[in-house]
């Protein structure tokens, strides 16, 4: 499945465009959530959808996350493809009961008779100066739940292509939108049409030979910047953008680490019990004999997300990534 789309300028407009195209192509696609109608969502991702498709296709719901996701389950049971918007990462928690007990399990418990093609859009992560409960990285909770796909775009192209793929998927997809990239401009492959391909493949964003930075979502631009900065030190870093946390593309990741022999996992959610531990373990299991250093993790601190004036100390930035790279302690070429 490949579609050609007019290039949207920002990730936010790419997401909006993806929703509009999906709704126009498939009358069973319904958008629902808090403030998604008249307002167009607090991030304006659903702007114009209610005007274009009517408020039965893009519905302002009562303020109730379990209710939103729970009614979406019933809608999906009756053949619709609901796309649910959770207003912010930490406000999705009231819906976890529905997500974990029903959304993730319905296909399995009915032996395939009742798949639920639901997309749950969650703006996530920090770096936008949000107050408490507006900056959580909740991906580990979702990853721990079998039956869900968990994906997160880092580029404008992927925002379009991956959201189209998520909506088209017959399985529930938790679609994590790195909110600090909403306003990022198209910067990769600007001439090619956005590709819509099934979920599950990681991509190498930058080729390199010295070490692999394994990352996703909001940390992808950080790692690319770190890779540029590292050139001055003579390090040639490869950057892998996972794009999909579940399913996990072991092949692309392992191939990269086998080439470079060293790896650092970078993400902004907490390190303890976070995605990095899983990723490091997978890499170690597959690449042990190729590794010249332990797989390191650069993550957010193991603290509740800090207040906005302190978040810059918490979020893994370029320097922390470079420090980790230095700790890989490779023998110098000389």
């Amino acid at each position: 499945m490949t579609t050609t789309a007019v290039k949207p300028a920002t990730m936010a407009s790419a997401l909006q465009r993806a929703l509009r195209d999906a709704m126009a192509e498939d009358p069973t696609v319904h958008v629902l959530g808090e403030d998604v109608g008249t307002l167009g969502g607090v991030f304006r991702i659903t702007d114009g959808l209610a005007a274009e498709f009517g408020d039965e296709r893009c519905t302002d719901t009562p303020l109730a996350e379990a209710g939103i996701l729970g009614t979406a389950v019933g809608m999906a049971m009756y053949g619709l493809r609901p796309v649910v918007e959770m207003q912010f990462d930490a406000f999705a928690y009231p819906s976890f009961e529905q997500l974990i007990s029903h959304v993730a399990k319905m296909r399995n418990r009915t032996r395939g008779a009742m798949p639920l093609p639901i997309t749950v859009r969650v703006p996530y992560g920090g770096g936008i100066g949000g107050v408490e409960h507006h900056s959580d990285s909740s991906e580990a909770y979702y990853m721990a739940t079998a039956g869900l796909h968990v994906v997160t775009p880092a580029t404008v192209d992927d925002a379009y292509g991956m959201l189209r793929a998520a909506i088209a998927s017959d399985d529930p997809v938790v679609f994590l939108e790195p909110k600090r990239l909403y306003w990022s401009k198209a910067q990769w492959s600007p001439d090619e049409p956005a590709a819509v391909e099934p979920i599950g493949r990681a991509v190498v964003r930058r080729r390199g030979t010295s070490a692999t930075l394994i990352t996703y979502g909001p940390s992808v631009p950080v790692c690319l910047e770190a890779a540029e900065a590292a050139r001055a030190e003579g390090w040639d870093l490869e950057v892998v953008d996972l794009r999909s946390l579940v399913p996990f593309d072991d092949e692309t990741v392992a191939a990269s680490v086998r080439r470079t022999g060293r790896a650092v996992v970078v993400h902004e959610s907490t390190g303890f019990g976070g995605p990095g531990g899983e990723i490091a373990a997978r890499v170690t299991e597959r690449c042990f004999h190729h590794l010249e250093a332990p797989v390191l993790r650069v993550a957010g601190f193991d603290i509740p997300y800090p207040p906005p004036m302190l978040e810059k100390h918490h979020l893994p930035g370029v320097d922390r990534v470079l420090d980790a790279v230095a700790r890989l302690q490779w023998e110098t070429e000389s």
């Binding site: 009562p62 109730a64 019933g74 809608m75 999906a76 049971m77 609901p82 418990r109 008779a113 009742m114």
Partner: protein, 399 residues
């Protein structure tokens, strides 16, 4: 109450400012028609029973008798280890049966974990309906076949599903109604509230039936809710609440039929509270004597839903002793067949563990499936030393 020493007006130099009154507040809905009657609606034993359709009465009766027998048989199967657990609905058959019979084929039933009987009365294969409780798989049937959602174990979480499905059906132009069942304890859950609120705001064609059987496991209603009745809760959402005698099958059917019609006409949801009693323990594993008096149970025996119906039909000549015997025989045959089918060991394919997690198997699951397949093949292969010998020996050899 203590008076404050100075009011705003008395403060020296403060100009007396009267706030402009807000725009006149109007209740959006007249609450009076939404309020339940103080007494549960009853038909049996009243002159109103004479107006009931004899064919429907006989159907209800037959299903009640079968339902009671089903409950006792399923409970017996737990004692034989053929069923992992069974939450009996003995005493509540009138609710279960009326809920199933009031729906058209195209309608949907959303049962809670206690409502196997409603699913069976709707036409589900009794063995398939027990799959969850037997423990061989979670849902043993295709929900679309009889339009029965999977039995829901987390309380009240199925209620928003019913709302969403009914809403979707209406958007598609289908006159489908969803009926959702919940217990008295379940009404305290947040999902109950959210479902009722969504249903009322969307005017979704859905009916909520609360089976108030007095207890949530051991917790009596008085510790569950301080509402005048559970039906009163409807008023706050802007939908009618109805109270009905839950042991009176005709009354439950009548009230539900009105609510279903209302929903089908596009007039929105109704909350029905059926006042009933759970005669058995919470499940076969529960000891009900720890939290309730035998006298209370005995008092409810006089109000047995099956006996009430039987007496009414005999008195009115709709049923005779021969009919009673035939119904009992039919129920007995059903029970015998159920016993026989449940005595066969279910055939399970362990590889099914991986089949339905995702539409397309992930590489991670494919690897895990390969591991299990290898284990299964090894244990089936006598040369491996596992099969045929006792586990202990095999393990010893390996060490």
């Amino acid at each position: 109450m203590k008076k404050s020493s100075t009011s705003v007006q008395e403060l020296p130099g403060a100009a007396v400012r009267r706030p402009t009154p807000p725009p006149a507040w109007q209740p959006r809905t007249d609450p009076a028609p939404l309020l339940p009657d103080p007494e549960p609606f009853r038909v049996l034993g009243t002159p109103a029973a004479a107006g009931a359709d004899p064919a429907l009465l006989l159907r209800l009766y037959t299903e009640l008798v079968r339902g009671r027998r089903y409950n006792t048989q399923a409970t017996a199967l737990t004692k034989q280890g053929r069923l992992a657990v069974y939450p009996s609905s003995t005493g509540q058959e009138a609710c279960e049966v009326a809920a199933a019979l009031v729906l058209e084929d195209r309608d949907w039933l959303f049962p809670s974990y206690r409502d196997t009987l409603a699913a069976v009365a709707r036409g589900l294969d009794p063995v398939q309906a027990l799959t969850l409780l037997r423990g061989d798989w979670h849902t043993g049937y295709d929900p679309h076949e009889h339009r029965v959602a999977p039995l829901s174990t987390p309380l009240a979480t199925q209620l928003p599903h019913a709302v969403g499905l009914a809403h979707a059906a209406r958007l598609k132009g289908d006159d489908v109604v969803a009926l959702a069942l919940v217990g008295d304890g379940g009404t305290s859950e947040g999902d109950f509230h959210e479902a009722l609120n969504f249903a009322a705001v969307w005017r979704a064609p859905v009916v909520f039936l609360v089976q108030n059987n007095g207890f949530a496991i051991s917790v009596p209603l008085a510790k569950q809710s301080a509402a005048p009745s559970l039906a009163h809760k409807a008023v706050g959402y802007g939908m009618p609440g109805r109270l009905v005698d839950g042991n009176d099958a005709i009354a439950v059917h009548t009230v539900l039929a009105e609510a279903v019609d209302r929903a089908r006409r596009g007039e929105g949801p109704t909350l029905v509270e059926a006042v009933t009693y759970r005669m058995d323990a919470h499940t076969n594993a529960d000891d009900a004597t720890r939290y309730r008096e035998d006298a209370e149970v005995q008092a409810w025996r006089a109000h047995d839903p099956v006996k009430l119906m039987e007496r009414e039909l005999l008195e009115r000549g709709v049923l005779d002793e021969d009919g009673v015997r035939k119904a009992a025989e039919g129920a007995e045959a059903m029970a015998a067949r159920l016993r026989e089918r449940m005595n066969a060991d279910p055939e399970l394919d362990p590889m099914d563990l991986f089949t339905h997690v995702y539409a397309e198997q992930t590489t991670q699951l494919a690897e895990q499936a390969a591991l299990l397949r290898a284990e299964l093949e090894a244990s089936a292969d006598p040369a491996s030393g596992d099969a045929g010998s006792t586990g202990g020996e095999a393990a010893g050899e390996r060490r």
